[in-house]
Symmetry: C2
C-alpha cells in the first residue's frame, strides 16, 4: 500500500465506521417523532468526520508495517486499519467538544458541529446539548471500534487499555489547556514550560505517541516496550508538530493550512511563541505584548504588531530551533531501534510528515 492509497482507505473506512455506529440500527426501537433529530446527529457525525489529514491513522499503519513480521503484516492489516481509524474517530469527537468549549463557529471551513445542530433544530440550547452528546457518541464509537479491532488482533485488553489511556491523556490535556488560560503572563519561563506541557498531553498523546504505540502493540511488541519506544520517538515528534502548527499560524506556509495567518494571536491563545517573545523582549515591548493579550480582543494592527515582535525578539527563530532539535531527537530514537535500515527509513519518512516545515525551511 502506498501512502496515497492508505489515505483513501482510511477516509472510506472511517466514514463507514462512523456511519455504522451513529445511525440508528434497523432493530433500534425509536419513536417516529424523534427520528429526524437522531438522524441529524448521525449525519453530523459523518460530516464532522470528513476531510481530515489523517496523519494519525497513517502513522499507525506505518508503525505497524515497520515493526510487524511479514506474515503478521499481511494477516492483520485490515484490523489495524480499523484501529487506525478509531484514532481519527476519537479526534473528531474531541474536536466537537473543543469547539463547544472554545465557542468556535467554524471547523475545517464548515460550521462547527454544535452550530450546525443549532441551525438544524432552530435552537442554540438544543444545538449545544446535541453537540455535547455527539462528542460523547464519537468517543464511545472510537473505543468500540478499537475494542473490536483488538479482538480481531488477538491483542485484546492491552490495546483497549492503551486506547483508554490516550482518552485520559487528552482529557487531562484539555483541562491543562484551560488551566494555562488562568496563568499569569508575567512569568514567561513558566508559561513556556506549561504550554509545552499542554502539548505533551493534549497533542503528542494522541497525535504521535498513541499511533506509534498502537502500531507496535498490533505488531506484537510487549506493552511496556511499545510504550517506551512510542514515547522516545513520539513525544519529541508531537511537540515539534504542535510548535510547527503554531509557527505556521504566524508565518504562513507555502501549503494551504486552511487558516488565515494570525488566528491564534487574534484569539489571544497563549503559545510558546508568545512566552518566548515575552521572555526575550525588553521592558517596553514586554508590557506591550502583555497588554495586547490581556485585552478583550485584538485587531488586524495588533496581529501585525505581534508578529513583528515575535520576529524581532527572536521568538520565531527560537521556535524553529526548538522544532529542529526535537525532530533530531525523534530521528535519533528511530535510529536506535533494532530494525533493518529499510524499516527505519520508512518509519523516519512516516514521522517526517508531522514536520513539513523542517523541509520547507531547508
Amino acid at each position: 500500500m502506498t501512502s496515497s492509497s492508505d489515505l483513501e482507505q482510511i477516509e472510506t473506512r472511517t466514514l463507514s465506521l462512523v456511519r455504522d455506529f451513529s445511525f440508528l440500527h434497523a432493530d433500534d426501537p425509536v419513536a417516529n417523532s424523534c427520528k429526524a433529530v437522531a438522524d441529524a446527529v448521525a449525519q453530523q457525525a459523518v460530516t464532522s468526520s470528513e476531510g481530515g489529514k489523517r496523519l494519525r491513522a497513517l502513522l499507525t499503519l506505518d508503525a505497524f508495517r515497520a515493526f510487524a513480521p511479514q506474515d503478521v503484516a499481511e494477516r492483520d492489516m485490515d484490523a489495524v486499519l480499523d484501529l487506525a481509524c478509531a484514532i481519527e474517530v476519537f479526534q473528531t469527537g474531541a474536536l466537537v467538544h473543543d469547539d463547544i468549549i472554545d465557542d468556535s463557529d467554524l471547523r475545517r471551513g464548515k460550521p462547527s458541529a454544535h452550530r450546525a445542530l443549532a441551525t438544524d433544530t432552530h435552537s442554540d440550547a438544543i444545538g449545544h446539548g446535541l453537540g455535547i452528546m455527539l462528542g460523547d457518541m464519537l468517543a464511545t464509537a472510537s473505543v468500540d471500534i478499537a475494542n473490536k479491532a483488538a479482538c480481531r488482533l488477538g491483542s485484546g485488553s492491552s490495546v483497549v487499555s492503551a486506547f483508554l489511556n490516550m482518552h485520559r491523556e487528552v482529557e487531562i490535556g484539555q483541562v491543562l489547556d484551560l488551566a494555562v488560560e488562568l496563568n499569569t503572563l508575567d512569568d514567561p519561563e513558566e508559561l513556556a514550560s506549561a504550554s509545552l506541557n499542554v502539548f505533551r498531553w493534549k497533542t503528542a498523546s494522541y497525535t504521535t505517541i498513541a499511533p506509534l504505540e498502537f502500531g507496535m502493540l498490533a505488531a506484537g511488541l510487549a506493552p511496556a516496550d511499545a510504550r517506551r519506544l512510542a514515547l522516545a520517538i513520539g513525544l519529541p515528534l508531537g511537540l515539534a508538530f504542535q510548535l510547527a502548527d503554531d509557527l505556521l499560524d504566524v508565518i504562513g506556509s507555502s501549503r494551504n493550512t486552511g487558516k488565515p495567518v494570525g488566528g491564534d494571536i487574534r484569539e489571544g491563545k497563549r503559545t510558546v511563541l508568545l512566552a518566548d517573545a515575552i521572555e526575550a523582549a525588553g521592558d517596553v515591548e514586554r508590557r506591550e505584548l502583555i497588554d495586547m493579550w490581556e485585552a478583550e480582543s485584538r485587531d488586524e494592527a495588533h496581529v501585525r504588531r505581534a508578529i513583528a515582535l515575535f520576529e524581532s525578539t527572536g521568538a520565531i527563530a527560537r521556535s524553529k530551533e526548538r522544532i529542529a532539535g526535537l525532530w533530531l531527537e525523534s530521528k535519533a530514537a528511530i535510529e536506535t531501534l533494532e530494525l533493518s535500515q529499510d524499516r527505519k527509513d520508512m518509519l523516519t519518512e512516516a514521522c517526517a510528515r508531522f514536520v513539513p516545515i523542517v523541509r520547507e525551511q531547508g
Copy 2:
C-alpha cells in the same frame, strides 16, 4: 453479603476507583502552575460521585448472585463489584453532562459540577469547559474500570462490548430527550409514546437492563441469552422506575426524594403524566395545559393547578396503573427463569427496589 454491606462496599470502592483514575499519578509529568486546576477537577470527580442510591450497582451484584454457580460467585465477587461500580461512575459522568445541557445549578443538593468548577476558577466559561471534560473523564474512567474488571472475569470483550452498548444507548437517549422538546404538544398520544421511548433509551438502558445483563455475563451466560433475559426483566422494570420517579415528583412520597414537589412541572418537562393529562382532558383544560407548558416559566399557582389537572383527568391514576402493569410484567419474566425459587425470589426482591411506590400504594 447483605444489601446494606453491599451498599457500603459499593460506596467505598466507587470513590476509590474514581480517585485512582482522576487524580494525577505520581509519574504524570504536569507543569506546577497547572496542577491546582487539575486537582480541582479530580476533587470534583470525587465530590460528584458521592452519595448516590447505588441502585444500579446493587442490582448488578444481585443479578450475578442469582445466576452464578456457587464457586463462580465466591471467586469473582470482587471483580463484579468493580464492574458494578463502573456503572455508577458512568452515571456520574452522564449526570455532569446532563446538568450542563439543562443548565442546572444543583445536583443532589450540592452545586452541579460545572457550577462548582466555575466557582473554583472564578470563570463561568472555564467552569463550563472543565465540566465537559470532567464528564468525558468519568466516561473514560467507567470503561477503563469495566475493561479491567472484564479481564479479571475472563469474560473479556463481551462485557466491554455490552458496556459500550450501554454508553451508546444512553447517549441516543439524551438525543431523543432533546428531540422530544421539539415535539408539538397537540399530539398527546405520540408525546406519551415518545416519552416512554426516551425512558427506554435514557433510563432503562443503564438503570435496569445493563446491570442485569452485566451480572448475567459475569455469571457466565452467553451474550445473546444475557441480553434477551435482561431486556425481558429490565425493560418493563426500567420504564416503571422512571414513571414512578416522575409520579413522585408530582404526588410526593413518604420517603424523602430530596426534591421539592412539582419540580418537573416548574421546569416544563414533557412527561408521560403530561401527555396522559392532555389526552384525557376536555378542550378547555387541554388548552390550559398546553398554554402552561408553552409559557416561558411556571409559578407556584401553575404547579398546583397542573397537579390538580393531573389528578382530575385521571393521569395520576393511569400512571399508577402503568407502573403496576410493568412491574407485573417484570416479575413474570423473572418467574419464567430456569433458576431455583430461592434465587428467583432474591432477584424479585432486588428488582422491587426500583418500584417502592408499588408497596407504598399497597
